[in-house]
């Protein structure tokens, strides 16, 4: 009978108990910061106090054993203090400048590159992919690993014109800010759902399935005497929204799933307003374990941008300056029918002036 009281709704631990003393002391009173070298910055407070940050890349998917390695580093150099960034990097926070180089050496010995601050390619935010997601059209961690192997030099060195943010989502649900990234890698399906008419009436609400389709391609139907649905395939644009509400409508398909590449988005207000990423490459095949076509396309975009952009110019700002025809010319990507929008408000993306560069 006697049951210990169940603790609920306590929320997260309050952040201030985890802040290093120098941060508690200078909270809200930071004066300026400087990037001292790749992956290292100092924040200087109005009091003159300094805090040094060393940022390391991480694969986001971490075992508890690696987290304990990070804890060991934090104990050795930072009185046990560390944090993570919104792009899944790990940051070590120090007050003793003389310990920085030795911390970097230890982190690198564990296999963690130092960088990602300032005009660099930061860590790729990404989703679960085949590691853990039921609706993935491609893997996430695997592509990210391959792309970051190729981009690691841009993580570790401050040699780019501006910041470059890459993100990956393994399907159109986009569990991450893929739609506003300098380069977005997006898993896509290319064939309409395969309907399991046996299971559908048992596990799905037909009105919800019908309502889920943004293009009204799904209709109720009686198939072999059972209530189910049918899909007008010409209207399906493979969003997988029906699958999300009804597991009996599978879109995953080894032959037709793959990757699209989008460019020129950003979330920051700096200079240009936030903007969406736009289609650069409609489809590349899933080619595990190395996805060479994806790595090649991303590398191409980065190289062309790095060689042509002005100082501070993000991908989208650069493309806006040179124009999309020139972007396709410089990258060599073929411009195809798929590049022209045909969903709602598509007309807003048509070129509506004679402002043309030849």
């Amino acid at each position: 009978m006697s049951q210990t009281e169940r603790i609920t709704d306590i929320g997260p631990p309050k952040y201030d108990q985890f802040l290093p003393p120098v941060i508690k002391k200078n909270y809200g009173k930071w004066r300026y910061h400087e990037i001292l070298k790749p992956g290292v910055m100092v924040h200087v407070a109005e009091s003159g106090d300094k805090i040094y940050t060393v940022r390391c890349g991480s694969p986001r998917l971490l075992s508890i054993y690696t987290i304990r390695d990070f804890c060991d580093l934090a104990d050795k150099y930072c009185d046990g203090h560390l944090r993570f960034t919104s792009r899944n990097n790990v940051e070590f926070l120090l007050t003793d400048e003389s310990k920085i180089d030795s911390l970097i050496a230890d982190a690198k010995a564990l296999g963690f590159p130092v960088g990602g601050i300032g005009n660099t390619i930061s860590n790729i935010v990404h989703t679960q992919g085949w590691v853990h997601c039921h609706s993935a059209a491609t893997d996430a961690s695997g592509i990210v690993k391959n792309v970051m192997d190729a981009m690691c030099k841009h993580f570790e060195a401050l040699k780019l014109p501006g910041k470059l943010r890459i993100a990956l989502a393994c399907c159109l649900n986009m569990c991450g800010a893929v739609h506003c990234s300098d380069i977005a890698i997006l898993g896509v399906h290319r064939r309409p759902p395969k309907i399991n008419n046996e299971r559908l009436p048992q596990i799905c609400e037909i009105p919800s399935v019908v309502a889920s389709c943004p293009t009204a391609a799904i209709r109720p139907a009686v198939i072999d005497g059972k209530k189910s649905v049918e899909v007008d395939e010409d209207r399906c644009m493979f969003c997988a929204n029906c699958f999300t509400v009804c597991p009996a409508m599978t879109l995953n398909d080894p032959l037709n799933d793959g990757v699209s590449i989008w460019v020129g988005g950003k979330v920051s207000n700096a200079r240009h307003e936030p903007m969406f990423s736009k289609l650069a490459v409609p489809f590349l095949p899933n080619n595990p374990p190395n996805w060479p076509e994806v790595v090649e396309a991303v590398s191409k975009i980065v190289d062309v941008w790095a060689a042509n952009a002005r100082k501070f110019e993000r991908m989208g700002e650069w493309i806006e300056r040179i124009g999309w025809p020139r972007f396709f010319e410089l990258t060599g990507f073929e411009f195809r029918k798929e590049h022209i929008d045909d969903f709602k408000y598509a007309g807003l993306s048509y070129k509506r002036s004679a402002h043309l560069r030849f």
Partner: protein
């Protein structure tokens, strides 16, 4: 594969970038679940398709969110990942930790789960990746004893997140950590018990650089800004110039408002024209700072494509002071939720709802005056829903329809 060989994944075990395969292998040394995950993933790499089944309702007692059910579709081959549920743990705001707190989570997870995590998930939570249904309650009980609680999932307030803010950034125009924590605590019930049409995300960004991508990813994006003049230290500007920064070209030339000039000695800013974009401040952090009259711009409605296409948040309140207890903001949230919960369709995000009913109608329903700050430009289509008309002989304003 089932024989324990993973030739495809092995190729991702090396290279300069830290490898997720190495992480799974490290966990697999002690965890049969992680070992089977490797095999399952190798199978996906061979067949080019995922092997996870759709959802399944699992959770802890009294909560509707925080746990995502996951089962493999090949349990006969990989029985240890037959169940492989995700637990979302509400992270400490700003993602600051002590090694002690992190080790506590690791110890609990070593005992009850796969030993694999995401630090962190896209919404911000600590993601514990892979456990069995019967482990959920014990994990929850141990976590809460150590002061950690679950985050959101499903149609509820999702775990709010914040940038590093005043903890380590000189640009924070309000206390993002304090606000984020306050909202998280105030809305515990909404976070743990899904009762909305769909998810609702808060993201607190301290300045227009928006390091938490709130404009793209939050239903309510709270972006710090200021109303008065940029603070300028002219001698520090000169220092940047002396050190080789081309101020006229790279700072003034990149200003979207074209509101500043550099004559080689003095930086002249027309603050009335400034759009608060942050570029000049980013370029010269030692010389320029946001003004002193600080607060936040409240924006609403961003989301990824599903269902009706991707959206960015748009301005609702151009400037609000952000001070505890944040009552003005909370009153606003609750008005929005009341309306959206009443009128929103199932799986309709608030941004889609606004698009469907019209921003004008939405503002009217939540009792906010229309403002030119809320639009990029006034309408350019002449199909206007005038809501009243008059009959010949009417001598005073009278609605023709009610």
């Amino acid at each position: 594969m089932a024989n324990g060989q993973t030739p495809k994944l092995d190729k991702l075990d090396k290279g300069p970038w830290p490898s997720f395969v190495r992480e799974i292998k490290r966990a697999a040394e002690k965890s049969p679940m992680s070992k089977d995950l490797l095999g399952l993933l190798e199978l996906s790499y061979t067949e080019k398709i995922g092997h996870w089944k759709h959802g399944g309702i699992v959770g802890v007692l009294g909560y509707g969110g925080g746990v995502i059910g996951r089962y493999t579709d090949v349990p006969d081959k990989f029985p240890n990942v037959e169940h492989f549920h995700t637990m979302r743990i509400n992270m400490p705001t700003g993602w600051f930790y002590t090694s002690k707190a992190l080790r506590t989570i690791c110890d609990i997870w070593e005992k009850h789960g796969s030993g694999l995590t995401n630090m962190h998930g896209s919404t911000g939570d600590i993601v514990l990746l892979g456990t069995r249904t019967e482990e959920l309650e014990p994990i929850f009980s141990e976590l809460t004893k150590e002061g950690f609680d679950l985050g959101g999932s499903g149609s509820d307030v999702r775990t709010p997140s914040a940038c590093v803010g005043p903890a380590r950034c000189e640009w924070a125009c309000y206390d993002t950590l304090a606000l984020c924590y306050d909202l998280t605590m105030t809305y515990q019930d909404e976070l743990h018990r899904p009762a909305f049409p769909y998810k609702f995300k808060f993201k607190c960004a301290g300045c227009p650089n928006d390091c938490v991508a709130s404009v793209a990813r939050a239903d309510m994006s709270i972006i710090g800004t200021w109303r008065d003049d940029i603070q300028v230290d002219q001698s520090a500007v000169k220092e940047y110039s002396d050190k080789g920064l081309n101020i006229q070209k790279d700072v003034c030339g990149n200003c979207p408002a074209k509101c500043m000039d550099w004559d080689g000695q003095k930086l002249d800013i027309d603050n009335r024209s400034c759009t608060r974009c942050m570029h000049c401040i980013n370029a010269m952090p030692k010389a320029l700072r946001p003004g002193k009259d600080r607060g936040a711009c409240i924006m609403l409605g961003s989301k990824a494509p599903i269902v009706e296409g991707a959206q960015l948040s748009s301005v609702l309140i151009p400037f609000m002071k952000m001070e505890p207890p944040y009552q003005e903001l909370k009153d606003l949230c609750e008005k929005i939720w009341d309306l959206w919960c009443e009128e929103g369709k199932s799986r309709e995000r608030v941004g889609e709802f606004i698009k469907r009913v019209g921003m004008g109608n939405f503002l009217e329903a939540i009792d906010i005056e229309p403002s030119p700050y809320q639009v990029a430009y006034p309408r350019d289509n002449p199909y206007i829903f005038y809501e009243e008309y008059f009959e010949e002989g009417d001598d005073e304003e009278e609605a023709g329809e009610e």
